[in-house]
């Protein structure tokens, strides 16, 4: 009977493989149009730009898909494809003076495209395993298929509208728009792109700290291998869920933000706009975590115009537009849901306050060097107070959640021995903060703690108790911090050499 089932599946899914490969390659090319042109010197295509091509292409697709759904314009293969392709005209016009066909290394470009195609063939083959559960099947496959069939949001989608990361749902509409059945290849290709980006980030970080090129390269490769082989990363990377996209887009957006604070000319700023637009809707709690990330970026030298237009505006706009569509236009009010109108209003209010801070307060504070130096530790204190408030309001839920986090790590529910690594990274950060006498200049360290504290309070705010098991939502959120932990460990090791 199994043979008959398999043969029937093989017969009906003929053509699915090559279609997914073509979609991946098309998204890669789309992203490369955005990430390719860089710098007034029109340097060659570099590892960073190549590794960002697919994430940016996928984010573009997700952004336009979400735009169509929120505005009520018909969502189908034609409309979203037209918008995604047309938006490629924008970088070609804006950066036309940087694009010099004669200077472009055509051979490298062709090799890159061929390489991407062959990697897509590998990603879509049956070589790499995945893990799926109920949420994978219903929230991130069934619901996206219904979105494609209906072509717009409807009130009767009910809890799918309040409990599902909408950007993730849009990403998972790709099979149903373009004629295949799963997103395994897309997810694997995203993971590969991310690992290359991660390695490149480590490489650049070490080079900036004075390492030689060869040494930085070897460290970058071993760091990427360390990430790749850690249990938390394997679980999240292979789990067909929103966590993988959130983990990877959060890291990419944050690192690019830090880079933009140092070198505005490196990559077009509007790439961050696209990434933030997608990131803010990947999970229900994404907006809150993204806002904390933006606050951390505000502690750098990043220009006000950049952080407001490229980071805060897409974050604020998506949340406002979505909640307006959800609660005012459609009148959605499920009996059981993670997100209700009260929580939505709190989120909008909080984002509004962050926007006001960026527009009117940040620059004033930055003029006072001493005060500016203490801002990062003040953020951590505010988040600690937020956690304290949560504890006071509902002690039982707060303590239960903390205990569940601890037990899931200790009992290795998806952690392996990586809990120990988190402890090392945490201690390294504390030593750094004490050594700096609370004047933190490395925003990565700030964000690491801020991220953890935000996860704890977000899980509390969601309602309900966390549970034991690798699949628990809170556990998965914590597992998703793994790239930040590895990066922090490498930074700590690099700092040792500087000290010596």
């Amino acid at each position: 009977m199994i043979e008959l089932l398999n043969s029937s599946l093989l017969a009906v899914t003929k053509g699915y493989y090559i279609r997914q490969v073509i979609v991946i390659t098309a998204l890669f090319v789309t992203g490369l149009v955005w990430t390719g042109p860089r710098g007034s010197s029109n340097k060659k295509l570099c590892v960073r730009n190549i590794s960002l091509a697919f994430p940016v292409g996928l984010a573009l697709f997700s952004m336009w898909g979400l735009f169509l759904l929120i505005t009520g314009i018909p969502f189908n293969a034609l409309t979203v494809s037209i918008l995604t392709v047309l938006s490629c005209v924008m970088p070609l016009i804006l950066y036309r003076d940087r694009i010099n066909i004669k200077k472009t290394d055509i051979r490298l470009l062709v090799l890159t495209l061929i390489g991407a195609f062959f990697l897509a063939l590998l990603a879509c083959s049956s070589t790499l395993s995945v893990t799926i559960d109920n949420d994978s099947v219903y929230y991130y496959s069934t619901y996206p298929s219904i979105l494609v069939k209906e072509g717009r949001y409807y009130k009767y989608f009910d809890t799918f509208l309040t409990d599902v990361g909408q950007s993730s749902a849009v990403i998972n509409t790709l099979p149903f728009l373009y004629g295949f059945d799963n997103t395994f290849g897309i997810q694997h290709f995203m993971n590969i792109s991310f690992l290359v980006f991660f390695g490149d980030s480590i490489f650049r970080m070490l080079k900036n700290r004075g390492s030689e090129k060869r040494e930085a390269l070897i460290c970058a490769i071993t760091a990427a291998l360390f990430l790749l082989t850690s249990a938390p990363f394997i679980f999240i990377a292979k789990w067909v869920m929103s966590n993988v996209y959130f983990m990877e887009y959060l890291f990419i957006t944050f690192i690019l933000g830090i880079q933009m604070s140092k070198d505005r000319d490196e990559l077009p700023e509007y790439i961050s706009f696209v990434l933030m637009f997608t990131l803010s809707m990947l999970r229900v709690e994404a907006a809150v975590i993204a806002a904390v990330m933006v606050i951390c970026l505000s502690f750098t030298e990043i220009k006000k115009r950049t952080i407001v237009l490229c980071f805060m505006v897409p974050l604020f706009l998506t949340q406002c537009a979505y909640y307006l569509a959800l609660y005012l236009r459609m009148g959605v009010d499920p009996l059981y849901s993670f997100l209700d109108i009260k929580k939505a209003l709190v989120v909008i209010l909080a984002l509004g306050m962050v926007l006001i801070y960026l527009l009117f307060v940040r620059d004033t504070i930055s003029k006072n060097e001493k005060l500016k130096g203490y801002l990062p530790v003040m953020l951590i204190l505010i988040l600690l107070m937020g956690n304290l408030a949560a504890f006071v309001i509902n002690r039982e839920r707060y303590l239960n959640n903390l205990n569940t986090f601890y037990l899931n790590i200790r009992l290795q529910n998806g952690w392996g021995y990586f809990g120990f690594m988190m402890f090392i990274a945490g201690m390294a950060g504390v030593i750094y903060i004490i050594g700096k006498k609370l004047i933190i200049t490395d925003v990565f360290v700030v964000f690491y703690y801020a991220y953890m504290l935000t996860i704890i309070v977000s899980c509390w705010a969601r309602g309900g108790m966390l549970r034991m098991g690798v699949g628990d939502s809170g556990n998965r959120m914590l597992l998703s911090t793994v790239p930040f932990t590895v990066m922090l460990i490498v930074k700590a090791l690099a700092a040792l050499r500087r000290k010596s």
């Binding site: 017969a11 009906v12 699915y16 009767y156 009910d158 040494e215 082989t229």
Partner: protein
């Protein structure tokens, strides 16, 4: 010796990270991730995996794959909620919701979503008649598992504004259905599929009994074997 010392000093970060990689691999060896969660290597491009049949999970992933380009024949058309006794009485404390609204319509909506076309054939059996017709043919069908999640999430396919029903829907398939049954999983409706010629045929027949056990087969199989009473070759 001096060279080694210098190399360690220069590449200590990489060496420590490499040591961590070895630790990771050792941890994966002694406690494989498969011991915590199932990982699947796929042999088709469908989201349905053959292990799901043994696990009795996600039959809908198979259904949507095979029904995609096919016409599916069902016994009835979708009935509006107004045709059922509890219409207009949802807010009553006794919660008199007519579960027949779900039993009659869920699968039709499901195939309406995933099949190329759904046609109504009033000659097809329905409810208790299905059980009687299927007797003796069980061996021809693969038991793909329980259908409660398929049915639970089919609320999104319903364009009627039946909010209370939606809550009931969720509750019915998740809690009430298996109530008072000794084995929770045995209580739920199941999906049975005859995969023979399923890919080759353009038309399928979907039957379900009063307990919402679904039987999906090719049109040829239904006409020749179930209706016609022939033996399977």
């Amino acid at each position: 010796m001096e060279k080694i010392k210098n190399a360690i000093k220069k590449y200590y970060i990489a060496l420590i990270l490499f040591f961590c990689v070895i630790l990771n691999l050792a941890a994966l060896y002694f406690k494989p991730l498969e011991s915590i969660q199932n990982f699947y290597v796929y042999h088709s491009q469908s989201m349905y995996h053959e292990d799901f049949m043994d696990e009795g999970r996600y039959p809908d992933l198979y259904l949507r794959a095979v029904a995609r380009d096919k016409n599916v024949r069902v016994a009835r058309e979708v009935q509006d909620y107004s045709a059922y006794p509890s219409y207009g009485r949802d807010e009553e404390e006794s919660n008199p919701f007519s579960k027949e609204y779900l039993i009659d319509n869920d699968y039709i909506r499901y195939f309406g979503e995933y099949a190329k076309k759904v046609t109504t054939d009033k000659t097809l059996p329905f409810g208790e008649d299905v059980k009687k017709m299927m007797e003796g043919h069980e061996a021809d069908f693969a038991d793909l598992g329980i259908a409660n999640d398929l049915l639970r999430y089919s609320f999104a396919l319903n364009h009627e504004e039946v909010q209370q029903a939606r809550a009931f829907w969720y509750y019915w398939y998740y809690h009430a259905f298996p109530e008072k049954k000794p084995n929770r999983d045995e209580a739920y409706p199941r999906v049975y599929v005859n995969p023979d010629e399923m890919a080759e045929e353009d038309e399928l027949v979907a039957l379900w009994d009063e307990n919402e056990n679904l039987y999906l087969m090719s049109s040829r199989y239904y006409e020749d074997i179930i209706e016609g009473g022939e033996d399977v070759d």
